[in-house]
């Protein structure tokens, strides 16, 4: 006997469950007044240095916390601990953070009414682009030492980010990096991308970055109150 073959139509986004969980958590954060920033970049681009400079700049004037992701070690958490509440998330090999790990780290942070929660993702311009961590803004850090041709090579990451921070600007005289080329390449993928230029080492651009964060939080609060 030959059985018939029947087709079952599904048409479902495979990531729809994690996306729904992320959207619910994002709304909770907005209600609490916490702006969540997912900081993505390749390894060594200066994510931790940017957070260190941010915490030092605010010097306690904003309530901030950091969840920092790495494959292994507590090095980044130890580095940031003198300046901000922080918890290390180690993935044991996974190339990106996912929401359950973020939730676990969140539960381990001292409970406070944070205004800013930074999630420093695993250094990787590929996989983190596909995972919503309940952030309100995704910021990609691109360092001058990586080359100005990177946005076009990692389109999803730049397409899904709202801002690009060009870091290590103090090294510009020594590397073949053209700021305008990097911005043009990124805006070809994401026309609305905001761009900032910083040197965490010299402290330049940090005020602009912090003001941008404040403005993003105000925007988030306004959208939440408006029920958008």
């Amino acid at each position: 006997m030959t059985n018939n073959i029947r087709t079952v139509e599904v048409n479902r986004d495979i990531a729809s469950d994690p996306k729904r969980d992320a959207a619910a958590l994002r709304a909770e954060f907005a209600q609490q007044g916490t702006l969540v920033i997912n900081l993505v970049a390749s390894p060594g681009a200066g994510k931790t240095s940017l957070l260190e400079a941010t915490a030092k700049h605010w010097a306690g004037s904003r309530r901030m916390a950091v969840l920092v992701g790495d494959i292994a070690t507590n090095r980044d958490a130890e580095r940031l601990a003198p300046y901000t509440p922080v918890r290390q998330l180690t993935t044991g090999g996974a190339c990106h953070l996912e929401l359950p790990l973020v939730k676990r780290g969140l539960a381990e942070l001292p409970q406070a009414n944070y205004e800013f929660l930074f999630i420093e993702n695993i250094g990787n311009l590929v996989c983190p682009a596909s995972h919503d961590l309940a952030e309100h803004v995704r910021v990609v850090v691109l360092s001058t030492t990586e080359g100005d041709d990177k946005p076009g090579k990692y389109p999803k990451m730049f397409r899904t980010s709202q801002a690009m921070v060009i870091s290590k600007l103090d090294l510009l005289p020594y590397v073949p990096f053209v700021v305008e080329s990097a911005i043009a390449d990124a805006r070809r993928i994401q026309g609305n991308l905001e761009t900032m230029q910083i040197s965490a080492l010299k402290g330049s651009g940090i005020t602009d970055w912090c003001e941008w964060l404040d403005a993003q939080r105000v925007k988030m609060l306004r959208q939440f109150e408006g029920g958008i």
Binding site: T7, V8, V10, N11, R12, V126, R188, G191
Partner: protein, 129 residues
């Protein structure tokens, strides 16, 4: 790479969507992968072959449909194919493009072997939502 975790999620959703059809009667899974889906078809296929036995789907085959990247210009409503990730309207020059297809990894449909059609009358949509 993250294909393994996504494929495990796919396999678990296949079992849910097929219910009450048992795993050994699920013959084929159709998925679509777009240029901006963040997954590589070859690695999806490899992960599927490696992981299916753990879901009792040893006999199940995978069909991957690769879609193009499509969008709509928010300035002039023109629909367009986005080639080489250039999000740019050829008609009005705007960069404000909303992606309408090709940025996801979708479970499209299943083919199941049918023994008694009266057993499987439940709507798939009801179970998933």
């Amino acid at each position: 790479m993250h294909e393994v975790s996504l494929v495990r999620s796919l396999l678990s959703q296949v079992l849910t969507a097929a219910k009450p059809v048992p795993p050994d009667l699920i013959r084929k899974v159709f998925v679509s992968v777009g240029p901006l889906s963040g997954v590589e078809p070859l690695l999806v296929k490899q992960a599927f072959d490696e992981q299916r036995a753990a879901f009792e789907l040893d006999r199940c085959q995978l069909e991957i449909e690769e879609t193009i990247l499509e969008g709509m210009c928010l300035a002039c409503n023109q629909t367009l194919e986005i080639v080489d990730f250039a999000f740019h309207c050829p008609k009005c020059d705007s960069g404000a493009i909303r992606v309408t297809q090709g940025d996801g990894f979708f479970l499209l449909r299943l083919e199941v072997e049918e023994i008694d059609s009266t057993l499987y009358s439940t709507s798939v949509h009801d179970k998933l939502t």
